[in-house]
Symmetry: C2
Subunit: 154 residues, 2 copies
C-alpha cells in the first residue's frame, strides 16, 4: 500500500476518490442487472419512501432535473402504479407525490437482489479478507455519510 500522505495535501483526496470510483464501478457494473427503473426514478422513489410525500418541484430540485422532466417521470411512475398524486392542501397549483405500496415493494425487492448479488461476490473472499472488509466498510460508511451531509445544503 502507498505511503500515508500527510494531512492537508491534495493527495488526501486520492484514496477517497479512488474508493468512490471503485464503489461506483461496483454499483454500475456489478449491481445493476436490471433496467426496469432509471437512476432518477429509483432515487425519486427512495426519497419519497424515506421522506414522505413531496411536491413535484421539490422532487425535481432534489434529483437535479428540470420540472418538466420530473412531471413526465411522475406521470410514468403513476402509470405503473408506483406513485400517486394528490392536490396539495396548501397550494392549489401544487401536486404532492407519494410512493405506493407497490413502489415500496419494488424498492425492497431491488435492494434484496442487490444485497444477494453482493453476498455472492463476497463469497469469493477469504474469511480474513471478509472480516477486514466488514470492519473497514463499517467505519467508512458513517464517514462518507457525514461528508455528504455537510455538503448537501445546496
Amino acid at each position: 500500500m502507498s505511503d500515508t500522505p500527510s494531512a492537508d495535501t491534495p493527495e488526501d483526496s486520492q484514496a477517497v476518490a479512488a474508493v468512490l470510483d471503485d464503489l461506483a464501478v461496483l454499483a454500475i457494473r456489478r449491481l445493476s442487472t436490471q433496467s426496469d427503473l432509471s437512476l432518477t426514478a429509483t432515487m425519486t422513489l427512495s426519497y419519497l419512501d424515506r421522506n414522505g410525500p413531496e411536491r413535484l418541484s421539490v422532487l425535481a430540485a432534489r434529483q437535479s432535473v428540470t420540472q418538466p422532466s420530473m412531471t413526465q417521470l411522475v406521470q410514468r411512475l403513476e402509470r405503473e402504479g408506483l406513485v400517486c398524486r394528490a392536490a396539495d392542501d396548501l397550494d392549489g397549483r401544487a401536486v404532492r407525490v407519494s410512493v405506493t405500496d407497490a413502489g415500496r415493494a419494488l424498492l425492497a425487492e431491488r435492494r434484496r437482489r442487490r444485497r444477494e448479488r453482493l453476498a455472492e461476490m463476497l463469497g469469493t473472499l477469504s474469511p480474513g479478507e471478509l472480516r477486514e472488509l466488514t470492519r473497514v466498510a463499517g467505519e467508512f460508511l458513517p464517514l462518507l455519510r457525514r461528508l455528504l451531509e455537510t455538503t448537501a445544503d445546496e
Copy 2:
C-alpha cells in the same frame, strides 16, 4: 464459492453486503451530477484509453449494451471528435474504434473536475475527520479492488 462457507460467514456476508450496498448507492449519487457524457460513453472512452483500440462488438459486450446501441454511441462520439473508426485489418466486416486526443483530454478534464469537487467537499471536514476518512479509505481501497478482481466476469 458454492460450497457452504464456515458457520458465521453468511451473516458476515449479509451485513457487509448491506453496508456496501449503501456505499454503492452513495457513490453513484455522486456521479449523477455530471451530464456531458453518459455513463456508457464515459466507460467506453475510458476502456479505449486504457486498453487501446477495440472492435465495436467487443465494446458493446464490455459495456453490456447491444451492438446497435454501441454503433449509435460510437457514431455520436465520432461526430464529437472523441473517437475515430477504422476498418479492422483482419476482418473486412469489423470496425475498430480508438479514442482521439480530444477524447483523452476530455477524460482527463472530467477526472480533474471530479477530484476538485471532492477536494472541496473534503475541505468542509475538520482535520481530524479528514485524517480518519483518508486512513479508512486507504485501508478500504485494496480490499475493494480485490473484491472487484475476484469477481471479474472475464
